[in-house]
Symmetry: C2
Subunit: 306 residues, 2 copies
């Protein structure tokens, strides 16, 4: 049974106001809470380890899969392995958030290993939102690992967002692109207090005509620390572009290490990174409209992380 707290977590991490249409699998405190499959999308519990196989038939267009994870106990450590087979020529939305409500003093940790096989010509939009909350001092820890293989002419669009309340995270993303395959990755990350976030994105542009775009935006507040490592590896005629911007505030620290590796004469790779504080002219403009400094800051940060 989903409590009202569970429903709030689901709404935050998976935009679910009610039980979703289409295929879904809701995991709560390490157990299956609910599941639905459709004619085109099957969900099968793994037998060798904890997790599910999501199998999307070739040619499945306009359908979605929601696989949110929610945790509401303190001191729980949950690890799950999910495998996605996105059939050739399909066009689907996959939503996979994680929300932790930790009421106590012990750490609650979710480790999600997601492996995707995006077959020939398939399109996948993948949305992952992370959110933590709770009355106690128990940490909310989330370590997502995302491995994506995109076959010829496939397109993946990833939206990976750490909304708030995650104390510790190691976010690992690996994408391999074959001929004419394309990846667009948008990352949004907020840390504050003494939170720590480490994000690593490696994209291998293996196929001729493959392309990748990464846009990473983060805000680091208080005493939080963020580390970014990106690597675009161009092994063929390809295009790659990484753009990462961080706003740093208070006593926060941001380390940004974006590597580009050109292993082919027709690899075209660009990287841009910037770390700085909120533009003072923006602050002044909003304050001249009657906002307090704090309100103006919040407005700018919300726009930046939108």
């Amino acid at each position: 049974m989903l409590s009202s707290l569970d429903r709030e977590l689901l709404e935050t991490v998976a935009d679910l106001h009610e039980i979703p249409m289409g295929a879904y699998n809701i995991r709560k405190n390490g157990e299956k809470e609910g599941r639905n499959t459709t004619g085109n999308i099957d969900i099968v519990t793994k037998t060798d380890k904890d997790g599910i196989d999501i199998i999307i038939k070739p040619g499945t267009v306009g359908e979605s899969v929601h696989i949110p994870v929610i945790m509401s106990s303190s001191g729980l450590k949950d690890t799950v392995y999910n495998t996605f087979e996105v059939g050739a020529g399909s066009d689907v939305l996959i939503v996979a958030g994680c929300g932790i409500h930790n009421p106590g003093e012990e750490s609650s940790e979710h480790n999600g290993v997601h492996e995707f096989f995006v077959r020939k010509g398939a399109k996948m939009k993948y949305v992952e939102k992370h959110y933590g909350e709770g009355e106690g001092q128990g940490k909310k820890v989330m370590n997502p690992k995302t491995i994506i293989e995109v076959e010829e002419d496939g397109v993946v669009e990833l939206e990976m967002i750490q909304i708030k309340g995650v104390d510790d995270t190691l976010r690992e993303t690996e994408v391999r692109l074959h001929k004419n395959a394309k990846a667009i990755i948008v990352e949004r990350l907020l840390t504050y207090k003494d939170q720590f976030a480490d994000s690593r994105i490696v994209i291998e542009l293996e196929g001729e005509g493959s392309s990748a775009q990464v846009i990473s935006r983060s805000v680091a507040q208080d005493d939080s620390v963020q580390k970014f490592y990106f690597n675009l590896v161009g092994k063929n005629q390809c295009m790659g572009h990484v753009e990462c911007d961080s706003i740093i505030m208070h006593h926060a620290k941001v380390y940004s290490t974006p590597e580009i590796s050109a292993l082919h004469q027709d690899a075209n790779l660009i990287h841009e990174a910037a770390i700085g504080k909120i533009a003072s002219d923006q602050l002044i403009k909003l304050m001249s409209l009657g906002m307090t400094e704090r309100e103006a800051e919040d407005r700018i940060l919300a726009g930046f992380l939108h």
Copy 2:
């Protein structure tokens, strides 16, 4: 005695058509070949290890020091430690190239460790050019290590150029900037055949108001490999900008890893990197003016590395 070959090397690496005016120290095959000091600039042989101390009096303006190193034997391994004291308020040019003519089959290697103390309000322009040539298969190896401490209001401008003919190089540059100190670093690097170049530049922006700009341009041809690692570490209110562009050709490989580390809320750090091939529209334009493809390529590369 300087042979005509020596004179050619000196001209290439230190723009010296004859014995320079002002202070100089010429090192040939690991030995002192000539030296001149002036009323303001003293050069003293180190007693504890191989190398010299260059002592520039406070307030020395408009003078230069040339300290070229040339090697013309095969199988020589030369390591030298030079220390530069650039007195407060002075404004000087220091030229420190290395030219190796390796006539034989054994490696010739020069390792130069240069340490600079740029005192309050001093300005230093430092030019370092590396060049190798030779009839045999013996490698030309150069490993420069450059450590620079820039005191309050000091300004350093570095021009570090690997002209050609260097088979293997590890270039390490460390700069520490104090209050309102400024560094401008321009690097130019060409590799071809199976040459390998590794360049590491770390700039610590320690003082309030310090600023750094790094512009790195490289061309990687044939089977050569280039690795770049830059790190701007902002520890105070500061500005830092790294811009690195590489042209990749043939079967060359370029790995570019520029890190920016913001450890202060008023650190403003930007990095841009791009790796790609020669723009085809530029090639076509030059070829339409009557150049062969090869001539057009050479013209574009020369402009890029200028």
